[in-house]
């Protein structure tokens, strides 16, 4: 009797676990199916065309792709040095009593929902950008900065974890040779934790590119490519968030699904590279 129950339990759990794989495959299939119409209509020009005009059923994704790339790039430039700084502070400088509260504060920053970053950005950051850099404040620049604050805690926490894996004996030997803290960090810890640190940056990049709400508030959803960072712009997730519920033709929907598929494939690829290539052994993320 109990051997039957045993089998049922084992197989149920296996089925559900396997279901997770099926679900992910299903997501790809469904997004692809719904993109077919747009893929057929536009082909490769979908990602090279700059005109996104629902009224004439013309959909070119280049402005959204451009916005995603530039805002993410901006966020990375701003966040990387600060994240490394926080990680160094948490793993090497902070007094033992400070480590936990500061570490938890940084992780709390990661727990704040992105819609709140967006709202805070809209009411408190947009005016600052407007007064400092001109324009209307709703811009690529604002989006990049808000995005950098959003990915900062995550990068800092994972970088710290990677740094903490450095064996004490290596650090102690370097100190014994008369190294300063910075010598130890740059010659021992960073080389030792390099893969993990790079992995955390790529992982953050993958998240930043799919981040929706924090940027939706402050980007503007304007399908235009402008070299001026203080101009409003759009990105793939911003376009989806703004237009999905309003699309009124099947080709419009299909184009939005193609954007979703594109976004999923890109972020899947980036996250996989981070995980399989850089974070393989340590399972930090």
């Amino acid at each position: 009797m109990s051997s039957i129950v045993d089998k049922i339990f084992a197989n149920t759990t296996k089925l559900i676990a396997f279901g997770v794989l099926l679900l992910v495959a299903w997501i790809f299939v469904v997004l692809f199916e719904h993109s077919v119409e747009s893929i057929k209509a536009f082909g490769f020009t979908f990602i090279t065309d700059t005109k996104w005009a629902p009224n004439v059923e013309k959909f070119g994704a280049l402005p959204a792709i451009y916005g995603s790339v530039v805002s993410t790039f901006l966020a990375m430039i701003l966040a990387v040095p600060v994240a490394i700084g926080i990680a160094i502070f948490l793993s090497e400088i902070a007094h033992a009593k400070l480590k936990a509260p500061v570490g938890i504060s940084i992780e709390l920053l990661a727990a704040i929902p992105s819609v709140i970053y967006g709202m805070w950005g809209l009411f408190y950051f947009v005016p600052i950008i407007r007064d400092t850099f001109g324009g209307i404040g709703i811009s690529m620049l604002t989006a990049g900065i808000i995005l950098s604050i959003m990915i900062l805690p995550f990068m800092a926490a994972v970088t710290r974890d990677a740094m903490n894996t450095t064996p004490d004996i290596l650090k102690e030997s370097a100190y014994a040779l008369g190294g300063t803290k910075w010598d130890v960090i740059k010659d021992i810890i960073i080389p030792y934790a390099k893969a993990g640190i790079i992995g955390s940056f790529i992982l953050a990049l993958g998240r930043a590119i799919g981040e929706t709400m924090a940027v939706t508030f402050v980007m503007g959803n304007v399908h235009k490519i402008s070299a001026d960072l203080t101009e409003p712009a759009t990105s793939i997730p911003v376009t989806l968030a703004n237009e999905f519920a309003e699309a009124d033709s099947t080709l419009y929907y299909s184009s939005l699904f193609e954007l979703s598929l594109f976004l999923l494939v890109i972020s899947f690829t980036i996250i996989s590279i981070a995980k399989f290539y850089f974070l393989r052994r340590k399972r930090i993320a």
């Binding site: 045993d6 676990a17 997004l31 997730p237 999923l264 996250i271």
Partner: protein, 281 residues
Amino acid sequence: MTHTQKRILINNIVMFLSTLSAVIGIGFLLWILSVLVINGLDALSMIIFTNEGAPPGNDNGGLKHALIGQLMLVSYAALFGVPLGVLAGTYLSEYGLKSKLSETIRDISDIMMSAPSIVIGAFVYAIVVSPMGHFSGWAGSIALTIIMIPIILRTTDDMLQLVPSTLREAAFALGAPKYKVIIQIVYRGAKAGILTGILLGVARVAGETAPLLFTSFNDNFLNMNMNQPMASLTVTMYNYATSPYEDWQKLGWAAAFILSMFILSLNIFGRLFLLKKRNKK
């Protein structure tokens, strides 16, 4: 300046910059929190809990519809997501172990945890909203469930692996079948850890907005029918904050305050607990 002095100078500069980075990070946290508390407390009143949404310009607007909607969306997501996630995690830790299937599921779950949630919204739109012909609370809950499963799966997996195998062996030696060992011994040993994982998973989906935009959509009035579009705190916050009406924006801040206090307390509780647990190991 001697070489040593130079090294010490550089060291001090780097130490200063690192400390400054930490101050910047915490500065942003304090800034956001103080904005939330100041605006939130200012907007908070009893009306918020007793009244539904109202047209702009009307002083009687509240958030009852969004609070109840949010509670329903997240509760149903947890109702589906928790058992599915825990059982799948159980398979990985107790049966699959280091098998190829288990490792693949772990990897895919990790990737899904970082994947853009708005894409899940598009997927649920295609499989639920589109065939049904309208937005609904169910669609929103399904989207949240899909986001929750990998989180709960991974924490359950990790927590079960922390249970010492000697406990399992002792139970097996007494002749207990495997499912009994898992349910009565392993789950009991990992209970607190799994519960923490569930709390963190719930906290994570409670803040999700993007996948709700085109699944549960929104409603400015109280609706308890999961078959209809349903309000959530997050989407309400988005709509109210981006509206030009000051009283709506005020309600948006109240929603932001309530939601973030809920999520942050779940996180503080969960993280402190995990920290204690990890230090013990």
